[in-house]
């Protein structure tokens, strides 16, 4: 197992800059998930670590050794492809044994290693089958088995369960986590699915347009997004973001949304550090609090849409010109056009610089 360090890597595909000065350090045994929309550079970063893609600038270090000019085969890293990439003309056994045969491991050691991996992944009954006779989940198990069998320095996974259906995805997610905990391998995992990222990662790396946006533990990127992109990318339903105006001083301020004259009162410790630059307010649906009675500081509004989701509802309310989405208990309101009172939880509010998109946080 190993530590991976990326220093200021950049990458051009022809004239297109796909990675811009990306740096990060992945600790030994850590599970890092790279999250972003397709085309954001996450897969390119992963392939650069593996050696399947060269970098235009910057350095990649594995265990302190520079590897950016080495071939993939010299980096001792395993890779799980989204398309599984099993060798179609070989049995499952031969597929898993391939990396061992390629480096001429002797037959008995090889057999023992394949058996061990097959046991862990519960694919022993499939060893004599061809990949074409396997289900998607089993194919991915075999692909992971082939990656793990030679105990690589790190395990890189490129959307390994993206091609599976929803139920299987959930199951494989749990399996990958279990595998990581039991093996403790340094893992880098690429996905566009934030639930996968949140549930698997020790730390999440969020990328957009080839630029690294934020690195942090799942709760950190959720609770303290570094900028508007992260704020809106992580979390479902999406965080409410709206331009606001502030009125008041150190003792607290009134936050006006959507041109509504009546503001929400925010205490001084929440808004004290804001220096008067144009602001955007980000607030997650669970921090938009609805009540049937006139609570203190709440504004009377009308519901415009209700999405019942079983365990909870998503209710849209109109505040001035702006629609805020709120997460309520199931059946809280019966439909649109109802009068409710809306309040915001100041402690769960995020302020962003409207121009740069950067989060503005106080000392806390």
């Amino acid at each position: 197992m190993a530590e991976i360090e990326i220093r200021n890597i950049g990458k051009f595909f022809g004239p297109v800059e796909v990675l811009k000065d990306v740096s990060m350090t992945i600790a030994d045994g850590e599970f890092v998930v790279m999250l972003g929309e397709s085309g954001c550079g996450k897969t390119t970063t992963l392939r650069a670590i593996a050696g399947l893609e060269s970098v235009t600038s910057g350095k990649i270090l594995i265990d302190g050794e520079e590897v950016q000019d080495k071939k993939a085969s010299e980096r001792d890293i395993a890779f799980v492809f989204q398309s599984f990439s099993l060798y179609p003309h070989m049995t499952v056994y031969e597929n898993i044994a391939f990396p061992l045969r390629a480096v001429r491991m002797n037959a008995s050691d090889r057999q023992a290693a394949v058996k061990e991996v097959a046991e862990i992944l519960r694919i022993e009954p499939l060893l004599n089958r061809k990949p074409s006779a396997l289900s998607g989940g089993d194919m991915q198990r075999v692909a992971i088995g082939r990656a793990l069998v030679r105990r690589p320095k790190a395990l890189l996974m490129d959307e390994p369960i993206g091609a599976l259906d929803a139920t299987l995805r959930e199951q494989m997610r749990a399996e990958i986590k279990r595998l990581h905990i039991s093996r403790g391998s340094t893992s880098v995992y690429v996905t566009h699915d934030q639930i996968e990222a949140m549930s698997l990662a020790d730390r999440i790396v969020i990328m957009n347009d080839g630029i690294l946006q934020q690195i942090g533990a799942p709760e950190e990127v959720y609770l303290r997004p570094a900028n508007l992109f992260v704020a809106q990318f992580v979390g479902s339903p999406v965080m409410n973001v709206t331009d606001v105006a502030l009125e008041g001083g150190d003792g607290g301020a009134s936050v006006m949304i959507g041109g509504d004259k009546q503001g929400f009162h925010f205490p001084g410790q929440v808004v004290g550090h804001l220096n008067g630059a144009p602001l955007s307010l980000g607030i997650r649906p669970e921090a938009v609090l609805l009540s049937h009675d006139a609570a203190h500081g709440a504004i009377e509004v009308e519901t415009t849409n209700v999405e019942p989701l079983g365990s909870h509802d998503i209710v849209d309310v109109r505040v001035g010109e702006t629609v805020l989405r709120s997460r309520t208990e199931a059946g809280f309101v019966s439909g649109e056009g109802q009068k409710v009172w809306v309040g915001l939880d100041p402690l769960q509010a995020h302020f962003f610089d409207r121009d740069s998109g950067q989060a503005l946080r106080g000392a806390n």
């Binding site: 593996a50 085969s73 492809f81 398309s83 990439s85 003309h89 391939f98 990396p99 390629a102 030679r150």
Partner: protein, 297 residues
């Protein structure tokens, strides 16, 4: 749809119905097949059991299996078979090695790849007779460019009994390697690129990747190329006939031609043709069986 006796003008106006299309296209085809394929096939099968000579008016006498036993025990005929086998082996092996090698070279990014591929295919498009005639000039011991560029002096190719077969095979390799190349190229480009990436990650070396990934995956289509080339090489006539008149280049097709049209032993040569047919079918079946096995993998 049924018409009661459609008149000519009427049917032309309405276009052809299914039945008349069938009559128009299928029956002439069947007639041609019977006249030009099936009848000669059966007639030659019959003549192969007779002493029929097409050059005389004498009636054919039934001789039973005499023609076959004569041919299969005649050592000169066996020499023709041996020569042919040697020729097929040299020629097909050469074409596979050269053709597959070229395909490997072309199966990567290079400038003017399309143009290069097209140019490499040119020999295949030429007439056998033309190829034979100008290779005869290339091989010429006095002014041929082959001896000149290889610095071989006055080396005899076609007049040399030991080299003549090789010379014919080399010409065939030059002409037909592009065919193997074309099919191999199709096979190679069908191997998914990510398998090579997986092999690279799995630390497989170049040779290991070639023998364990590339070759098994290209094998089915390469097999088809080999089947075609073997059948063609087996019945090679024109190239060898034009290039050389050495006894060491007397392939079965040439022997058969001489037997049938110079010696007019029609019955005997029919039997000979049937023996060759059975052999080609036999060899092809072995290949097809192997092809199916390869495909299963």
């Amino acid at each position: 749809m049924t018409h009661s006796e459609p008149r000519a003008g009427q049917s032309a106006a309405r276009g052809l119905n299914d039945k008349s299309i069938r009559n128009l296209f299928i029956f002439p085809t069947i007639a041609f097949l019977i006249i030009f394929n099936i009848f000669p096939l059966l007639f030659s099968l019959y003549t192969s059991f007779t002493d029929f000579r097409a050059s005389t008016n004498a009636p054919a006498n039934w001789v039973g299996l005499e023609n076959y036993s004569y041919l299969l025990t005649n050592e000169f005929i066996w020499r023709n078979f041996t020569i042919t086998a040697k020729y097929v082996l040299i020629s097909v092996t050469g074409q596979v090695v050269v053709g597959f090698g070229l395909a490997m070279l072309l199966n990567r990014y290079m400038p003017f790849k399309g143009l290069i591929t097209t140019l490499l295919l040119l020999p295949m498009m030429l007439s056998m007779a033309v190829v034979g005639l100008f290779w005869k000039l290339l091989y010429d011991p006095n002014f041929g460019i082959i001896n000149h560029s290889l610095g071989l002096g006055k080396f005899e190719w076609l007049a040399n009994p030991d080299m003549a077969l090789w010379a014919v095979a080399i010409t065939d390799i030059w002409m037909w390697s592009p065919f193997v190349m074309l099919l191999s190229l199709a096979g190679l480009s069908a191997v998914p690129k990510h398998l090579y990436e997986a092999a690279e990650i799995d630390r497989a070396g170049t040779f290991y990747t070639f023998f364990r990934i590339t070759l098994p995956l290209v094998a089915p289509i390469l097999m088809i190329a080999i089947i075609f080339r073997t059948m063609e090489a087996f019945k090679t006539f024109d190239l060898a006939y034009i290039l050389s008149s050495q006894p060491t280049t007397e392939l079965i097709a040439i022997r058969l031609y001489k037997m049938a049209f110079l010696e007019w032993q029609t019955g005997l040569s029919s039997a000979f043709a049937y023996i060759v047919l059975v052999m080609v079918v036999g060899i092809t079946m072995i290949y097809v069986k192997y092809l199916n096995k390869v495909k299963e993998r």
